[in-house]
Structure formats: structure tokens, C-alpha cells
């Protein structure tokens, strides 16, 4: 029976000891422990939130970068295309210019040659006439003493000669 009968002494001391323990822990230990745990929990949750936000930001930046890269690539292609066009046009122009120059030079050369030739022919004509006159003078001599008349005759004749 003694086992199940509460005794006043143990009741009193248990009450006292437990309450002392309770007040010590309540005033001293639990505020510190619980405070630290709560602080840590808060810190962890804010750190997690921050990490989440950072990850979202990173994703956004990455997407932006990708878009920018794509834009830059198209831009580059456009520029290259344009450059190629310009090069082709310039080549065409220079070729045409060169051709025109060549043709111009050719034409001027031709006209020069023509003129030279005509001059040469005139010269030859004069020479031939002179030579012929000399020869004819020598051959005919006296026969053709009237030189002036003879000259007119030859000139007339020369006009009919076509070289």
C-alpha cells in the first residue's frame, strides 16, 4: 500500500524542486535557446528566399543575354550582307570605270593613229609629187619647159589619185 500512497514530504519537495527548476529554465535557459533557434530559422528562411530570388534574377538575366546574343547575331549577318553588297557594287563600278577608261584610251589612240597616218599620207603624197615632179622634169626636160603649166597639170592629176 505504501507504494501507491502519496507522502506529504515527497509532495512538498517535488513541488519545490520542480517549480525552482521550472522558473530557472523559464527565466534563463528557454528564452536564450528558443530565441537562438527562432533567429536561426528566420535566417535560414530569409537565406532560402534570397537564393530563390537570386535564381530567378539569374534566369531573367540569362534569358536577356540569350535574346541579346540572338539580336547581335542577326545584326552581324545583316552587316556582313551589306558589306558584301557594297563590295560587289564597288567591284562592278571600278570594273566599269576601268573599261570606260580603256575604251576612251583606245579611242584616243585610234584617233591619234588615224591622224598620224593621214599626216604621213599627206607627207608621202607631197614627197611622191615632188619626187614625181623631179623625175618627170628630168625625163621630160625641155619638153615640159613651162613649169607652171606642168605643175597645174600634175596637181590636177594628183587629185584624182586615190591612195
Amino acid at each position: 500500500m505504501e507504494l501507491v500512497m502519496p507522502g506529504i514530504g515527497v509532495l512538498f519537495w517535488t513541488c519545490l524542486i520542480f517549480l525552482i527548476l521550472f522558473f530557472i529554465l523559464k527565466k534563463w535557459a528557454f528564452p536564450i535557446i528558443n530565441g537562438m533557434i527562432k533567429k536561426r530559422e528566420e535566417k535560414i528562411s530569409t537565406a532560402l528566399n534570397q537564393a530563390e530570388a537570386t535564381r530567378a534574377e539569374m534566369q531573367r538575366i540569362e534569358a536577356e543575354n540569350k535574346a541579346m546574343m540572338a539580336q547581335a547575331r542577326t545584326e552581324r549577318e545583316k552587316i556582313l550582307e551589306e558589306a558584301a553588297q557594297i563590295r560587289r557594287r564597288m567591284e562592278e563600278e571600278s570594273r566599269e570605270k576601268a573599261k570606260a577608261e580603256y575604251e576612251r584610251m583606245l579611242a584616243s589612240a585610234k584617233s591619234d593613229i588615224d591622224r598620224e597616218r593621214r599626216m604621213a599620207v599627206e607627207e608621202i603624197k607631197i614627197q611622191v609629187a615632188s619626187v614625181s615632179m623631179d623625175m618627170a622634169e628630168k625625163i621630160l626636160g625641155a619638153e615640159l619647159s613651162d613649169r607652171a603649166r606642168q605643175q597645174a597639170l600634175i596637181e590636177n592629176e594628183l587629185k584624182n589619185v586615190k591612195l
Binding site: 507504494l3 501507491v4 514530504g9 512538498f12 517535488t14 527548476l21
Partner: protein, 371 residues
Amino acid sequence: MRGLFLKLFLVFVCIGGAFCPLAAQAETQEASAAHESFNAGELILDHVTDKHSWHICDWKGRKIELHLPVILVYNGKIHAFSSARFENPQHTYGIFQLRKENPHKGKIVALETDETGTTRIADKKPLDFSITKTVFGLMVSCIIILILFFFIVRSYKKNEERAPKGVAALFEPIFLFVRNDVVYASLGKKQGDKFLPYMATLFFFILLGNLLGIVPFFPFGANVTGNISVTFVLAFLTYLITMGHSTKKFWAHTFNNPSIPMLMKFPLPLMPLIEAMELITKPFVLMIRLFANMTAGHIIILGFVSLVLIFGAIGTALGFVVSPLTVVFGLFADALELLVSFIQAYIFTTLSCSYLADALGHPAEAESNHH
């Protein structure tokens, strides 16, 4: 793996420790009382009940024990003396006697002489405020709790918001379990924070009391939480807190539950009576459950240990044969007690919380509905 071996080793040491004083005592008992048969029941009851001195061990046929102070209030006067004063053939000191036989076995009584000159036990009993084995065990367990908390708090202060280390790392999961799964689960965060210090103190007080009760050597092994006075105080404090914070709704529900048909309340108030009885049975059950579980645990362990002594008393060889069985059973009982220590601490705290939640009108449910 190494941790496991260490634990097993510790358990073996504990069990080994359990045998030493018992075996020594059995031997001296046999030596002193010639061929008196070994009484297991007496030994077990002797160990689970409260005493005025703490028997540590026997050394060379002499008892080594701690004589605890006796404090008596008798006729309005305080008498304080060491229980060593009772170490005489009559176990008397002044007018007080420590009874070694029935009636009042183990209690301190006052003696009086009547006209014929014969001494007899006075009808008036002295009030015994002695520091008994249980009270001393309580003090030891509270000092250990305070020492543990000293290191835990120091560790928290040093570590600040970083992960806990050392004792705090061991302590924190248990504390978080009590906080989140016991207190917050039934009381909600707001009310839970208010009652957390009490509930956590209750939990660690019971847990340490239970655990130290299994450790078989001095200054542990007192059947603290298996003492009905201790569990009475704990249950009563919970009851006081519960009643102190009870709401109008709680009382309306107790005496006039709207979900119960009128027929059950009128003309005979059957359900209100049952509900009112529940007010008393709840703390009563709380008290009995912890007491019975811890005492039963101690009885089982001591019973298994006594096996070897019972068989040893019949024949030494038989004692040797039974000893491995005792070790195995004792180990099993100790492991079971380890589990029960946690479970009972958990159950006591959980039920305290749930009774309190009843009285407060279930703040946790209100909180979860609100969100």
C-alpha cells in the same frame, strides 16, 4: 558501427553495474541469515519504495550507505537529524522510531508510553518532510538538468545562429520535437510559445528522471518518476494550469455539450456527470500512467536480476546456468525501459498539452483554420 559498439558496451556496463550491489547484498543476506531463503518480492519492493537512507553497496560484509537527513514536524515542532540516528537495534531516536516491520513499515512513527509503562505507537503521526531517497534523486536529476542546460545555453551563445554543436546538437532535435510536434501541434504557435517553458521543463524533468532511474549505481537509480507523490505533483500542476486557463466555452461544453441530445442530460444528467468525472480522471490517469509504467519497469528489471539470485539460492551451479539468461533478459528489460523512458515523457507532455488545448478551446485548430 563504432557508435553501436560503444552503445552496446555502455548498456553492458550499466547492466553489470546493476548486478554488483544486488549480488553483494544477496551474499551478505545469505551470510547473515544463514540459510534463509531469498525473497525476491521483498527485495524488489525494497528497491522501488522510498527510503530514508541510500544503500550504495556492501564492502567486506559492511553496508555502505548514505544516511539522508530526516526532517519531522511533530506537535508543531521541527525535528531534524540524520537517519544514521536510527542505526540501533530498536531503530529509535528520541521518541521517533523508523519502523522495520508492519504496521507502518518503512515509516517514521512517534512512540508514547502509557500508564502501565509499555511503549506503543502513538496515534498521532509525525509529518515527514525528510530528504528521502526519492527527493535526493530528484535533486540529483535537477542538478544534472541544470548542468546540461548550462552547457547547452553556453553552446547556443557561442554558436549564435550557426548549427548547434556538442550537447546542444543532441538536445536540439529533442527540444524541436517537443516544441513542434507536441506543443505547437496541439496549442498552436501563439499559445504554444506561452506554455512551451512549462511543457519543455515537464518533458526534460520526466525524461531525465526516467533515464537516471535506469542507471543502477549511486547517485542515480532512485525510482523518481515511479514515485506516486512525484507524478501526483506533476499531474496536479498540469491540472492547475489547465483549470487556470479554461475558457467559458470549455465549461459550457463540459456541462452542456450541444452535440449531445437532451435526453442524455435530462431528467438524469448522465453525460454532464460523465464529463465532470473526466475533469478528475484526466489528471488522475496522468499520475497513474507514469507511476505505473516506471515502477513496472523497475520491477521487471529487478525481477529478471532476481532470477539468478533465486536459482543461486537453490544451488550455486544452477545460479551459474541461469546467469546468461538473466543477462539477456536484463538487457532486454533495460532496452525496453530506455524506450519507455522516452515514450512516457512524450505521453505525459502530449496529454498535458491536449488537456490544455481542450481547456483553451483548441487554439491550434483555430490557428490552422484561420490561415
